[in-house]
């Protein structure tokens, strides 16, 4: 048997064997390590924000510090954790294995993407300590404030620009890989639905990110040369900036959620021992979500001063998104029906995902409808909604995938009881933290303030206590995974008895992924 890729001889010794690697598995792990580190920072910032908000009044931060912290929390969580979270880490590691490729199509561009990502992250962090101090605009960088504030916007925006470039290159790389490097017999309809979701995600990364890139570039140019694209004093239109920002950032929401959907779609058949229900519909709905994602960005701007015609059209189009998302949820439920269910941790996280994502999705409709959106816009309702979708959806999907592929990546088994206990804490803490926000928002508490009226005290206290329980769940989960990495039992090659291709090689896989070129003769979820 060949040695695993961990023990293979690399071109450079030690740490350089990692940061100059071209092996997609090592790149995936580099991404995993870096995104999880950023996640830890983001979580800490979130916890301190919750601590400040435990009851009304100013406790720890000045208003300006609070502005900087929520900006940083948003930028880190969105650009440095969720967007690269699943596609670049798990996608990089798993997708080539699932299609039976030896590596991605452009291994050098792959490691370049990671380099750009780290450079972008480092520059964004540098912006905190240099120039006019940490950015205080929120992660949306709305004009005209972002072109007038004295804080260090240009540098932070440039960091995000590099991260965007990295994301685009990853998309290009994965698309080429899926088109060109599938193993013999791996037809489009034999690909796993995780790979399908990565495929759809890559298209969004490729076609939406350049719009963000140019928008951010225009901000930098505007700040440094006073060109006047978005400054009303020079004839510019701030709403145009919002359009361009959301032309990227709405599709980006699907960059975050689609791979998580793909992950749970891969998990469900394995733990119910039956073929996925509605394979073609799930695959097609991934592409449909990617497409419809371009039609609905205006629903972020219902109170911005956009024309009524546009508001009505965007509201109408927004409801279309519910169709492909609904197709997915119904197919997942149908796949569970009459399956021989094994309630292992990955499935438990998956069920939590379906529950939380459904709440997130349904509260999204409240904001997609023009009349109610005007009412809840800019309140904690929206904060609750996007945390349900982003953390409850993308985050829990990521955790599910982390547990499901942990034996594949490390060759070890984690402690099942601890994993379930962590999931329990996460689920309880999560709902206490973010469901309170729906209540607060509905009662009218505005977002992005460091303080609030005393009448909002109750739910805020519940939310803060929830944040501690959530943090405890995260600590247990990561303790379990890290501890098992060193002390876990050997997993064997295919502990879940899964049928897809990535489990047909050794765990962890050798450098070339498969000892012999695999030939595919059946679908990814055919267990009998």
């Amino acid at each position: 048997m060949e040695a695993s890729f961990y023990h293979a001889k690399t071109r450079y010794p030690g740490i350089f064997g990692w940061i100059f690697t071209t092996d997609h598995k090592r790149v995936g792990l580099l991404y995993l390590f870096s995104t999880l580190s950023f996640f830890a920072v983001g979580v800490s910032l979130g916890l301190t924000m919750r601590l400040e908000l435990i009851r009304s009044g100013m406790h720890f931060y000045s208003a300006q510090t609070y502005n900087a912290i929520f900006t940083l929390h948003g930028v880190i969580m969105i650009f440095l954790f969720i967007i690269p979270g699943i596609p670049s880490s798990l996608g990089n590691f798993i997708m080539p294995l699932q299609i039976g490729a030896r590596d991605v199509a452009f291994p050098k561009i792959n490691i370049l993407s990671w380099g750009l990502f780290i450079m972008g992250g480092a520059i964004a962090v540098t912006s905190l300590f240099t120039g006019g101090g940490p950015p205080d605009t929120g992660w949306t960088f709305y004009v005209p404030y972002s072109i007038r504030t004295g804080t260090n916007i240009s540098l932070a925006v440039f960091g995000v620009f590099l991260i965007g470039l990295s994301s685009t290159l990853t998309g290009m790389n994965f698309l080429t890989t899926i088109h060109r490097l599938r193993a013999p017999g791996m037809t489009w309809k034999r690909m796993t639905l995780f790979t399908w979701s990565i495929y759809a995600t890559s298209w969004i990364q490729l076609l939406a990110t350049p719009v963000l890139a140019i928008t951010l570039l225009l901000i930098i140019i505007e700040r440094n040369f006073g060109v006047g694209f978005f400054d009303p004093a020079k004839g510019g239109d701030p709403i145009l900036f919002e359009h361009m920002f959301w032309i990227y950032s709405h599709p980006a929401v699907y960059i975050m959620i689609l791979p998580a959907m793909g992950t749970v779609t891969d998990i469900i058949p394995v733990f119910t021992r039956r073929n996925i229900f509605g394979y073609s519909f799930i695959a097609a709905s991934s592409l449909a979500i990617a497409f419809v994602g371009y039609l609905v960005w205006g629903h972020h701007m219902f109170t911005s001063g956009m024309s009524d015609t546009a508001r009505i059209i965007f509201s109408l189009l927004t409801f279309i998104v519910a169709v492909p998302s609904g197709i997915k949820v119904f197919n997942w439920i149908a796949s569970l029906y009459k399956g021989s269910i094994r309630m292992n941790a990955p499935l438990l996280y998956t069920l939590a995902f379906i529950f939380l994502f459904s709440i997130g999705g349904l509260t999204g409709l409240v904001q997609g409808a023009l009349a109610t959106a005007v009412h809840v816009h800019g309140t904690y309702f929206i904060v609750g909604h996007f945390h349900y979708v982003m953390f409850g959806g993308a985050g829990f999907g990521f955790f599910a995938g982390l547990h499901y592929w942990f034996p594949k990546i490390t060759g070890k088994l984690y402690e099942e009881h601890l994993a379930k206990l962590a999931c329990f804490f996460l689920f309880i803490g999560f709902n206490m933290l973010y469901f309170s926000m729906f209540v607060l928002g509905w009662e009218g508490m505005p977002r992005r303030y460091y303080d609030y009226l005393p009448r909002f005290n109750g739910p805020n206290l519940v939310a803060t206590i929830g944040s501690w329980i959530l943090a405890m769940g995260l600590i247990i989960m990561f303790y379990n995974l890290i501890h098992s990495l060193f002390a876990g039992n050997k997993a064997g090659d295919n502990p879940w008895e899964a049928a897809s291709l990535e489990w047909q090689t050794t765990s962890p896989p050798p450098v070339e992924n498969f000892a012999t070129q695999p030939v595919v003769t059946k679908g990814p979820y055919e267990f009998r």
């Binding site: 088109h179 145009l240 032309i247 371009y294 956009m306 546009a310 059209i313």
Partner: protein
């Protein structure tokens, strides 16, 4: 290896395309100078699109590529069209 079966395009073809592009450049300047108001812009964009298609089709070899490449090209063109049209629903009616 069949993918490498590249098509040899005659030099003559390229030169003809180049001459056509130069003629269209002359035409577009003429169209602009006719002062047709909004229609000048429409004519100019139409001519530019013909020129761009010639470059894509011949210089960039799209004519000789597999069908996949031709189909894929519609994706960014469609995306950019959707983005511009939807944004204009705001601008026209604001």
């Amino acid at each position: 290896m069949e993918e490498n079966a590249s098509h040899h395009v005659a030099t003559k073809t390229f030169v003809f395309v180049w001459i056509a592009l130069l003629c269209l450049t002359g035409l577009t300047i003429k169209a602009a100078q006719m002062q047709m108001g909004e229609w000048s812009m429409v004519a100019n964009i139409a001519i530019a699109s013909v020129k761009a298609s010639l470059v894509l089709w011949f210089f960039m070899h799209l004519k000789y590529e597999k069908r996949l490449f031709k189909l894929l090209l519609f994706v960014p063109i469609m995306t950019i069209s959707i983005i511009i049209v939807l944004t204009f629903f705001d601008i026209w009616y604001r």
